[in-house]
Subunit: 551 residues, 3 copies
């Protein structure tokens, strides 16, 4: 019996020690044991005051192999997703709803009044503000109350002016605005915010903080892809979210891979599903989980030149709302008018950017922070059917997003694709030449098969709405939409990902001489010709067997 004990202890040690070692080796650099892929729903959920964050377990072999992590964020009406940044560049696809997103670039100017109001007013405002700040500096805190009052009035007036429209503002002459008005202008000034809506793709570089707010009338749902194996991430392959406010739970704290919290929290081995609204032990400890929390409160207060009470608020102590909070009343800040104007504004910005970039010889970030990030376009809508790059009336349509239509993607080395296949429509069998593809099923269903280098189907599944699956680089894949059609969004881990089709007018087969086909496949030349010319569609293939002459 003692021997048995020795033996099992031995076993235990071996499996504790070595298997742990093996587990952490599944990084893409080491080994991709892709014997079996699976389309999966998220397997971890964090409940917050005004929404929830669901994550896919990034320790799964397919995620490890592709070097990605993914999450789905649901923000309720009037919910604010607290500012955070990540160690990996990410693409966000807005599955549903409307809202506002603010990305913060330290050192960039707080442009949000100027860009929406007449520049003349903006200039006056700035001078005024400059003056006010000096007064504030000289007169100290006592003036605070009064200023705030002024500002509230100014804000109301400012909003009225906005609604009167831009035309009127431009009509106002240089000196047309009475001096008095300026005293009641709104005071708030901040960096650019961006409207987001269903179909938008937002690109966020590693280390860049962003927040978002649902000001629509339904839930705002977004799917995020983190490219953890990107060159921009110099830490390890674990996705890490750094929150700058609140007392958030770790979204990716799965399977004990991430560091255990320092205080007041036991490791939760094997517990993937977080209990919602669990008693937060941090509260008793008086320690939050955001970046401010780790600083000495006194030192932080000194650095910010505020009192320690405010510093403690930054540190998120006694905050149990988690990372998505409910805003008291409506969130009230300077916002751009929606729609056409915004689009024109962005187009102008983009033109300017491209001119700059041509002068720079295509070198992004070459001229420092100010000339690039501050004016960088971060989003593009690919939900509009008119925007389709590939369209087959009887099969479906595909829209692609790459560095040509969203230049920041060149820097991030990511691209994306959104597709809608009609019932039984077939996505031509193909392989991804230079990227992994991470596919999220927006709506509908499809039969998907993925094939490895040995000719084995490592994925053969009916994928459903809300699931996500990975098609590794170079692996063959075929997809056929189900009865409900198939609507998906695909993240690709290269700036201009492209595919090589195995059927259709641009397929591999078409590129080969007839006799090579005939010999390779042991078929007649007639059959070879059929292989080459029986399909006139390119990527979106209709399912009917009849020949068509559509070119």
């Amino acid at each position: 019996m003692a021997k048995a004990f020795v033996f099992s202890l031995c076993l235990l040690l071996v499996f504790n020690g070595c298997l742990a070692a093996r587990q952490s080796q599944l990084s893409p650099q080491n080994q991709c044991q892709l014997n079996q892929l699976q389309a999966r729903e998220p397997d971890n959920r964090i409940q917050a005051e005004a929404g929830q964050i669901e994550t896919w377990n990034f320790n799964q072999e397919d995620f490890q192999c592709a070097g990605v992590a993914a999450s789905r964020i649901t923000i309720q009406r009037n919910g604010l997703h607290l500012p955070s940044y990540s160690n990996a560049p990410q693409l966000i696809y807005i599955v549903q709803g409307r809202g506002v997103l603010g990305a913060v670039f330290s050192g960039c100017p707080e442009t949000f009044e100027e860009s929406q109001q007449s520049s003349q007013q903006g200039r006056q405002q700035e001078q005024e503000q400059e003056r006010q700040q000096q007064q504030q500096g000289e007169q100290g805190r006592q003036q605070g109350q009064q200023e705030q009052q002024q500002e509230r009035q100014g804000r109301q007036q400012g909003r009225q002016q906005q609604e009167e429209g831009r035309q009127q503002e431009q009509q106002q002459g240089q000196q047309g605005r009475p001096q008095q008005q300026q005293q009641f202008r709104q005071f708030d000034r901040h960096q650019k915010t961006r409207r987001i809506r269903e179909g938008d793709v937002v690109a966020i570089p590693a280390g860049v903080a962003y927040w978002s707010y649902n000001d629509g009338d339904q839930e705002l749902v977004a799917v995020n892809l983190f490219h953890v194996s990107s060159d921009h991430n110099q830490l390890d392959q674990n996705p890490r979210k750094f929150y700058l406010a609140g007392n958030p739970e770790n979204e990716f704290n799965q399977q004990g891979q991430s560091q255990p919290r320092q205080q007041g929290e036991q490791g939760r081995p094997g517990q993937h599903q977080q209990p919602f609204g669990r008693p937060r032990q941090q509260e008793q400890q008086g320690s939050g989980n955001n970046v401010f929390s780790g600083f000495n409160t006194q030192l932080l207060a000194q650095a910010l030149n505020v009192n320690e009470e405010t510093a403690r608020n930054l540190q998120g102590q006694n905050d149990n709302r988690n990372q998505i909070i409910r805003v008291r009343g409506n969130l009230d800040f300077v916002q751009p008018p929606r729609g056409r104007q915004e689009r024109e504004h962005e187009e102008r910005q983009q033109e300017q950017l491209q001119q700059e970039r041509q002068q720079q010889g295509g070198q992004l970030m070459a001229n420092g922070l100010e000339e690039t990030f501050c004016s960088l376009r971060l989003k593009e809508n690919i939900g509009n059917p008119e925007r389709a790059d590939i369209f087959s009336p009887r099969a479906g349509r595909i829209s692609t997003l790459n560095s040509h239509n969203l230049p920041i993607l060149r820097f991030l080395r990511l691209s994306a694709e959104r597709g809608f296949f009609y019932r039984n429509g077939i996505y031509s069998p193909h392989w991804n030449v230079n990227a992994h593809s991470v596919v999220y099923v927006i709506r509908g269903n499809a039969r998907v098969q993925v094939v490895n280098e040995n000719g084995d189907a490592i994925l053969d599944q009916e994928v459903q709405q809300g699931q996500l699956f990975i098609v590794p680089q170079n692996h063959g894949v075929i997809q056929q939409a189900g009865n409900q059609g198939f609507e998906y969004f695909a993240f690709k881990t290269e700036e201009n990902a492209f595919i090589n089709t195995l059927a259709g007018r641009t397929s591999f087969l078409r590129a080969l001489p007839d006799e090579v086909l005939a010999n390779a496949y042991q078929i007649s030349r007639e059959q070879a010709r059929q292989l080459k010319y029986n399909r006139q569609e390119t990527i979106a293939l209709s399912s009917s067997q009849q020949r068509r002459a559509v070119v």
Copy 2:
């Protein structure tokens, strides 16, 4: 005895568990345990119907450290190496023979008639073909037989015209060709093929499929280097070959590192040497090993719009010819005229490419697939002695290939070198500054010494024809040709690999002040001067001890 059992079981577990763990850590990112290098012949062989594929075990520490894999492919006369692609960019050196290579870029036009015949004819042809295809679409399959007959006649005629030469074609006026001729033109149309011959280097990007065919009168032998640790490979460090036809064996299935075949094949632990013509168990299982094999036959047939029988042929079921097959009769397809014209054609293409690239600011792939890959030059011959970049009449010559003479190498981040040293000629001791060097011995023999950072010779060997060895980055190396001379080809894992010599006119020693040498090596100033000036050759050093005044 029971104790002994426990003990050995323990040991077993430890070595099974932990050593396996250690083994898979030898990726370049982790550790290079380069205590001993060795020049080796391939240690795995796959016999196919019309040739063989030999591979070097990529799990060896030196290969793992350098992040490369290598194979040698022998194609018999009239043999066709089936189309395949790899997860790693590769360089192919043609050691012997002649043939044709076709690289497939999905979406690129099928240009092979136009580029070899007059453009006027090509245009007419295209229109005709367009018309024929529409007819085909309208009239369906019945016409197939007839078309094929027409086409055969057209092909014969086409070949006659080719032999009449290009000049005559150009003399023919716009309308000079009778309408009747066009009906008998050859029909086949496919992507560019490239003639290959001894001394050619061909660059194939990751994920790009290619096939090759031996139409010469001797065996076609090629050595392939796969740069698996390239950024272009987002999978793991294992080389993977994806075949698009046939029922191939896994060329790199060594030491159980690759995934075992899903069906019908047991793991073959430790069995490096494949039995030739082994009974293929796939045949009984009815499952092939190419990419098509993994798709559902019915779905594949639907996608291709062919019958299921043809789809099954694509899947390579019941095919036991392996990856190199014997062509029935001669492989008959549109081919470019050989020699001077081809060269001129390519040069024109290259000029155009360079102009484009200058306009683009040197950004390859920046403008999408069509403008780059489709017109990209993939090969360059470095076998011609006249082409030598370094030549020493009494020692030997070296030709280099980098992104300047083959621009795609900038994109692939690879370069190459071919050298021929006369008997006793010395390759100056040197180190590779920015690349690993993987050297294949084409002919002859040499004494090679490689030195690590501790001053230890980790390779000291008489290398022979057919062997391959790795000189890791920064390691010192010296080579002296043997009695038969020394002819080699070196793959380098950086686009413009360069070396730093330790002897010769451009050596490290020459760059140092006399007194630094005198003090560092505890020698007199006179000796220091000798170190600097006793060798007037640069890299290829003659072995005689006499001083020479050649500068």
Copy 3:
């Protein structure tokens, strides 16, 4: 008891086998277990004849995670640090002293006479030298003695001329210099050397050899950072130093990670501190440790065309001075005049370089070795207070070095920063957006806190002069200078590293709308306004709590 034996053997095996496995997994690609950081002094020291080399243990988790290694080199007066190169690009910061550094680029011309004397003289000299070399070739060795004598005289004369100054030289007409003088000019010719002094940063690419010499009147102290996880290093993550002279000890031979020496040296497990002046076992073995040592002596002699005795001297046999040697007398070589002229010279070079680079479209190394490395500027002084990029009269100043002011850093993908904070001055809390920061404390002390993604302080320490600590990418950090002020140098692992501040005029907080702050931190709008506007300084924050109006 036997059982106990089995058990402990088991344990032993498990811990030997598996823990070793775990240890080597701490590469950045795998896992960053950064639960605890620490500012540390070097923990390994090698004593040499004229100085010492101290290294930080690169196997520590923080170094492994950041992919860096570091050393501090102290060269005594008249000491020569023998030529070496490394597998990683490095930045060298000169903490103290003056000296000369020579970087060797194989194949670049030996330009050092021309650039320091009048070009007219230089031209004559070159012609003369050419002639002399030919004579040497023709007349062989007998002339050696005589030449050397001439040269010594020439050298003395040359130095006098230098001291007479450059103006005079330029006044001398084309033919003004008597023929006789030219016969007595100094003979030595070598590649460019560069003067180094306190405050200089020198960038050395991977695989590029350099040597340095202390010709000042105090110790020359330098701190080196090696970016081992750089793309330029294709070997593993271990820093490797390849010496080209002497019989050096392995500076980074810690914890048995590096390969044990082949001969005559036992593994020294756990022995971090090297005994100074230990009996060198190599002497008995007759084998050195530099790159030449590993070559066959006869073959080396043949390659260099020198006798075997000289070859043996190159191999460093019987040399026990280690890597820093004392020069006999003064090291006597061609040197540039110091100061203003040098600066002007470099500025001219830089202008030229930038013009070239604009023409090249910003593509470094695109045109081969000759046009880039040979004329590349390698150093820049950031010690001068006037050079500050950020300055706050009551807090301190910061100078940054990136690819804009030292273009080679774009190629190396490194940047740097030097800062001086006055007593109690605060470096604004911030995070590194795109780089790790490796900080060396030059003088003074500071309180430093580093915070991870869970809000835990993983570093909270009073850092002292001579210590080094790592601030990982994206981790929050705050620093407050102690009573003695705080002077530091920070290496950053990205070409244009930038930070995002959490306090100050450009902070994250300032970019957010008031109401977002109010809701996120559960504070009033007034408090939110204070958070945004209470600090007018940007990065260097003064510690006093009073409000200031300085903008």
